[in-house]
Symmetry: C2
Subunit: 221 residues, 2 copies
């Protein structure tokens, strides 16, 4: 009962609040009203108040939100005030893109190692991170207290690797492989299915065209 149950929809929106608050801090803004934040984020002020009220009264009448305080509270809620040790499995372009993205590190996600089966990649170093053989996976996870594994490998290899990760004690998989992983209840999987995102885009473009053609209406500029 210490932690209130928060709806998935609200959680889904928190990282976006976090991003906007981070930008406000960079701009030197110390406090902001729900109305101002609403104008920036293109979300209604009442939605903002409702969302942020989930975490206790951060906002004060007539004062607005203390940006730094709210930023830090959201970071605690998201668990990004702590360090998370991460490994990347699959050192191809996508794995390397993630390894090169320094923003993750600033949010506490420290990439400790990369793994591949390709002998041409093993031994290479990306931004200080060595690419190792997947044979060393289990030992490395235990020795380096790894919590999160990013899977940037083809879907055919993903189930086997996921099983090995779970057996080695990994509790969180960031899955880019185009398949749904089967894992125990106490392991969380966050999927990034790029093809599905591209199909949603395609659907939306086609619907937009249908609207334009079918009804003879042009959307106004």
């Amino acid at each position: 009962m210490e932690r209130k149950e928060i709806s998935k929809a609200v959680i889904g929106r928190l990282p976006r609040y976090y991003r906007y608050l981070g930008e406000l801090i960079e701009e030197g803004v110390e406090r902001i009203s729900s109305n101002e934040l609403s104008a920036r984020m293109k979300v209604t002020a009442s939605q903002i108040r409702q969302d942020l009220n989930n975490f206790g009264g951060f906002g004060q009448q007539g004062y607005g939100y203390n940006v730094k305080y709210l930023y830090s509270e959201i970071s605690k809620i998201l668990g990004i005030d702590q360090q998370h040790n991460v490994i990347i499995i699959g050192a191809g372009n996508l794995g390397q893109a993630i390894a090169n993205y320094t923003n993750f590190e600033r949010r506490g996600f420290v990439i400790k190692g990369m793994f591949d089966i390709n002998p041409k990649l093993i031994g290479l170093v990306i931004r200080g991170i060595e690419i190792r053989s997947v044979d060393d996976l289990e030992t490395f996870i235990k020795d380096n207290e790894i919590q999160i594994a990013a899977l940037t490998i083809p879907k055919t290899k993903a189930p086997e690797i996921a099983d090995r990760l779970v057996n080695a004690g990994i509790k969180a998989i960031w899955n880019f492989a185009h398949t749904d992983l089967v894992v125990p209840d106490d392991v969380v999987v966050e999927n990034v299915h790029l093809s599905e995102s591209l199909m949603r885009l395609s659907y939306r473009v086609c619907s937009m065209q249908d609207q334009g053609d079918g009804k003879g209406e042009k959307s106004s500029k």
Copy 2:
């Protein structure tokens, strides 16, 4: 009125149906009941029936769904029965990962060109796709009937490039830059914000730990 209004939630699930149906086709399965599909997809059979009923009665009592027919109908709904010409702006690791992903092409997304500002990258060829200077962006879009632009560039550059894309007639932006783009109403933007996905994963791991610690309950195996 030709096309029924379909809820965002259903559209969001269609690419996943499409993926499972594609796998069934590969396995040589010709028809499937909502119960069998339910067991595979870990979605209730009633949800499946409800979702797929949106597109008219594909399923027949006692027969189930004709896999190929349903696959092809969903592909029409998603607009992936047509060819979409795509460009990638930003030829770094992430842009190259997308260019190398042949699955997109099989779904009708044909990558026609890549663009960068880095002279070291300009002129290189990735899987037959030349990396060009962003100076040539507008001409290339017009000459090659480009519909979709993938933005794999830093957030600081994204707004300016998005404006140029919109002015050149692009109607769909697949945005990997960590910022929200401001575009006219007739342009669709599909965001892939990797940091936000990683934060949701972090939240879920922390909640799982809280549950384990706070209530003294261990999740059962």
